[in-house]
Symmetry: C2
Subunit: 394 residues, 2 copies
């Protein structure tokens, strides 16, 4: 039976430290004896792995010593402050950066208006300068950088792929460019994917199938299937903004087709509709402000946009059968009006079996879903058992 | 290090035989030495596990002895004939049963016209009698029964849940009823789910994300996500037949809503359209025959139905980004006309990134996708490493 053990241990004597850290990541303090019981490992093995984690500061002795009859036993707990994470959520018109701990708690944050079409060097240049300022504020050792971009991103290379609203960004080597300036590994994904990741991780971790819909200047969604991000065959999954919702040829979309969801129901589309009706509105922020002020026409248009989005989501509910739909993005701040339109159509059009336990809610993370998701993307990568084992055994 | 081994081996001394069988299931013959090299296990452990698999006849010595310089080494190979599997595909109007080997090869088969609305006792009664006849023909030890039903099925209990076209079946305990009469475990699922499973397993095993669309009396799809069946939160995923494709209130669907895909593009819908136009057609089989005979109106209606289905699938391509869409069911036999309509709309409406490498094909299994899927469902269950370990160690 020794050989089975040797097989599992083949990649280094402290392999398995990552698995132990996974247990401790819930934040609960545990003694050696408790960990021996939880894992079935020998006390000597547990001790060896705890030493490795302690030496890398991923765990710390807990303050509360637990007495087990004899001398007090030391308990250990996850050290969420062991490293810091840099997170950036770059939107069409504004950008947000933050530094978080290893539990995705924001330690310092900046938000500015910064159009993505200024190009990668200007936008990422600002990102580097701002992150360095934030890192001075927070201190700590940077373990990785997570970036969300408002367009398709190749998951493997981290480069944007033909992003429609990001001139100059196509194929730009974001990870290399940032990595060489910040001295840490960089992970990049589509902004809606990271929002879905953030919402799932921080607020709905027990949900198996979740769809996060971002409604802002554009419309897109991030999909959690069996608790993991579903990217699809080309990483293009979730691009619902260009689903046709009207056969009218009058509404031309920036994608070149007509009748796309985004062309009739995005924040930009509602602003256009309001302008045409004589109401001063230039983007999704203006629409949100008008709705909040109770402008009747803005409220009506927002509700109708919710219905159009609900029509697309009703199909998705029948096809995918999620248990939670989360509405986020700028327009989610227009409150219950959008949500009411979405619910109205989904509950009237989707199958009873699929809507019986379906929850349709606004994001619990507000405008921080993206930034928290970007941090989570890095944390899950850095603290994966394989990554921890690699660091510990090197 | 011994303890790690003990942990992995805790459930019995031959645990791990299932993992070894998983390697051999590809049908290739391998020697002890090759298996030692592949697994990293000790020669004594491999021998012990091979003995356990041999004693249960799951593997057999291969005919071809391989010389390794000295005396010829015995090679072992998966014994696909070790057990037989019963598979049933019960459709709205006809039923098919088969007995297969452990590689899902059909050994004996029957197909009859048998409307599902005759109720569970009559339909399942026929199933039991016919399967017993087939088992006499094939011989072999029955290891399980797989059944596909044309309606929603609770995955955990194997009971139909409010199936719209199956009067008398709601909540019927199919697994118990059949199991007590056939003396083997029974697995039940929705017919489209098992078709997706069969197609993926038998013809597209390397594909990560696949959508199998069944077009017959009704319309539904089975979803493979990351090589696994996606059932959704309530097991309702894939029910695309009731997605609204027209806002016209004239086309009322059996579900109570109007404008559903099924009400305009299923075989039954086309037959209704043909009848209204004075062409004699009573169901999807008639439509298929008319299309094959070159009836112009039937061809036109089939192509238009393909376009309607394509419209729904275009949204699904944007949302889910599969790499393969497979068209199956009765109407798939109407050949290229339906497929042409589907392709026309998907390629014009879906995003270029999502369609660039998208393959849209007719099923490679023809009308056997369901029966093979039902067998695969059982085989994957019976030959899972956990199930094999359990049998071997008991």
């Amino acid at each position: 039976m020794l050989t089975q053990g040797m097989l599992s241990e083949s990649s280094g004597s402290v392999t398995g430290a990552g698995a132990l850290l996974s247990i401790l990541r819930d934040g609960q303090a545990r003694t050696r004896a408790e960990l021996v019981q939880l894992t079935g490992l020998a006390r000597s093995t547990v001790s060896q792995r705890l030493d490795a984690l302690l030496s890398h500061q991923w765990i710390v002795p807990a303050d509360d010593a637990i007495s087990s009859g004899g001398r007090p036993a030391t308990a250990f707990t996850f050290n969420r402050g062991a490293r810091v994470v840099a997170a950036a959520d770059l939107g069409a018109t504004h950008a947000r950066v933050a530094v978080t701990d290893l539990a995705s708690t924001v330690l310092a944050e900046r938000r500015v208006d910064l159009p993505i079409d200024r190009g990668p060097e200007e936008v990422l240049g600002w990102l580097v300068v701002t992150l360095k300022e934030l890192l001075v504020e927070t201190g700590g050792s940077l373990c990785g950088v997570g970036v969300g971009l408002p367009g398709p991103v190749s998951h493997s290379s981290g480069r944007p792929v033909n992003p429609p609203i990001m001139p100059g960004w196509d194929g730009f080597p974001v990870p290399d460019w940032l990595g060489s300036r910040l001295g840490a590994p960089v992970l990049v994904d589509n902004d809606v994917n990271i929002m879905a990741l953030g919402e799932h991780w921080a607020a709905r971790r027990d949900v198996e199938h979740l769809v996060f819909v971002k409604i802002g200047t554009g419309i897109g969604c991030g999909i959690i299937s069996e608790r993991r991000l579903h990217r699809g065959a080309q990483g293009a999954a979730g691009d619902i903004g260009h689903i046709r919702v009207t056969t009218s040829d009058e509404v031309v979309c920036r994608c070149g087709n007509s009748g796309c969801l985004e062309a009739v129901a995005s924040g930009a589309a509602i602003a256009t509709q309001l302008s045409a009706a004589g109401v001063d509105a230039h983007g999704s922020r203006d629409v949100v402000n008008l709705v909040r002020q109770g402008n009747t026409m803005a409220v009506q248009f927002a509700r109708q946009a919710g219905r159009e989005i609900g029509d697309v989501l009703a199909s998705i509910v029948n096809f995918f059968n999620p248990s939670v739909i989360v509405i986020g993005g700028d327009m989610a701040e227009a409150g219950e009006h959008i949500l009411a339109g979405v619910r109205e159509v989904i509950y009237s059009r989707s199958l009873p079996l699929a809507t019986q336990h379906l929850s349709i809610r606004a994001t619990e993370l507000g405008d921080r879903a993206g930034i928290i998701g970007a941090a989570v993307m890095v944390i899950e990568h850095v603290l994966s058992p394989e990554a921890v084992d690699l660091v510990v055994s090197s």
